[in-house]
């Protein structure tokens, strides 16, 4: 596992560019009134998020984010949209209090993140307890992530896989072709 520490300038640039794009997407999202457009844009946000997760080397999380964020939640949100109007009502109050609240929460989170170890720091606490044992590959599965997911965290993963399979089943139901008794009517 000869990973470079930190990463090159271009990688940092890409990660930051993705973060900026995500922030822009959220701004657009907050200003849009049409709820269809909101669903679409949140799908875009999920895609950008998943790309960012790949850039940060968390491929399995990215996979789940893409499947759940862009796949299942789009379907669920559309189902919910069926039950309500497709235009968002104008808010009755000025949003200053929620804005201040979320701003404060954001600052608090940033303050908390200052204490975290650097990205990909080998001396970080999380890399010093069980990770070396996982890396020694006791369970004869070629890929480390797979070994951790399928063996050490098997039950956990079973739940996750159920979610992903449910997503798959939903998608099959969605794309199922309609049967016509009397031959072909091209869609």
């Amino acid at each position: 596992m000869g990973r470079r520490r930190g990463g090159t300038i271009i990688e940092t640039l890409i990660i930051n560019a993705l973060l900026v794009l995500m922030a822009l997407a959220v701004l657009v999202l907050a200003r849009t009134r049409n709820l269809f457009a909101v669903v679409v844009l949140s799908g875009v946000y999920s895609f950008l998020m998943a790309t960012l997760l790949v850039a940060l080397d968390a491929v399995d999380v990215a996979m789940t984010e893409a499947a759940v964020g862009a796949g299942v939640s789009t379907v669920l949100l559309l189902g919910a949209l069926h039950l309500c109007k497709s235009e968002e009502a104008r808010p009755a109050h000025r949003p200053w209090l929620p804005l201040a609240l979320s701003g404060a929460t954001g600052l608090l989170l940033i303050y908390g993140a200052l204490d975290l170890p650097d990205f990909a720091d080998p001396a970080a606490p999380i890399h010093r307890h069980v990770a070396p044992r996982y890396l020694q590959n006791e369970v004869d599965v070629p890929n480390v992530v797979t070994a951790v997911l399928a063996s050490f965290r098997g039950y956990d993963t079973l739940g996750e896989t159920t979610v992903v399979f449910t997503a798959g089943a939903g998608i099959v139901a969605l794309l199922r072709r309609r049967r016509h008794k009397g031959g072909g009517d091209a869609q």
Binding site: P142, R177, G184, A186, Q187
Partner: protein, 158 residues
């Protein structure tokens, strides 16, 4: 039956592609899952002439793809030139014409090819009537009885 076998082989190949491991256990697991999926798909009656088309004239398909690719590159180049031209020389046109394919699959291939070529998008597709939005008048004029139409009709097995 031919469809099920061909579907099974496609799935097994896809597994190989994604795993890239060639140990006996993983190969057997892949073949097993592909078999199970093929069995379920067969039971659910998903494998028909649309779901897994093996009945096409494959020789014509093989010569169709390179030709289509050439067309795509030509028209994509044309469209990008128009985009970058400061005067934006476009003349959007709707054209209606009758395609000559007989089967649903042939119609779908023709419509998809039209859409895949930049500069033309098939908007409405029905047997005997295509409605196409084209970026230029020339693009709209060349649709009825085009070479693409002829080639798509040749894909359908007689």
């Amino acid at each position: 039956m031919v469809r099920s076998i061909s579907f099974f082989l496609t799935l097994a190949l896809f597994w190989l592609l994604l795993s890239g491991m060639f140990t006996p256990f993983l190969l057997a697991a892949g073949a097993g899952s592909a078999f199970a999926v093929a069995l379920i798909a067969r039971r659910m009656d998903l494998l028909d002439h649309e779901g897994h088309p093996v009945q096409l004239a494959w020789g014509a398909v093989l010569s169709y793809w390179p030709w289509l690719l050439k067309e795509i590159v030509k028209s994509a180049w044309d469209v990008s030139r128009r985009i970058l031209d400061p005067r934006l020389p476009i003349a959007p046109t709707l054209a209606e014409f009758a395609p000559s394919q007989k089967t649903d699959l042939g119609l779908v291939i023709h419509a998809n090819s039209i859409t895949l070529t930049p500069g033309t998008v098939a908007v409405e597709v029905a047997a005997g009537r295509f409605l196409v939005h084209a970026l230029t008048r020339e693009g709209a004029a060349g649709l009825a009885g085009s070479e693409m139409d002829r080639r798509c009709a040749a894909l359908e097995r007689p």
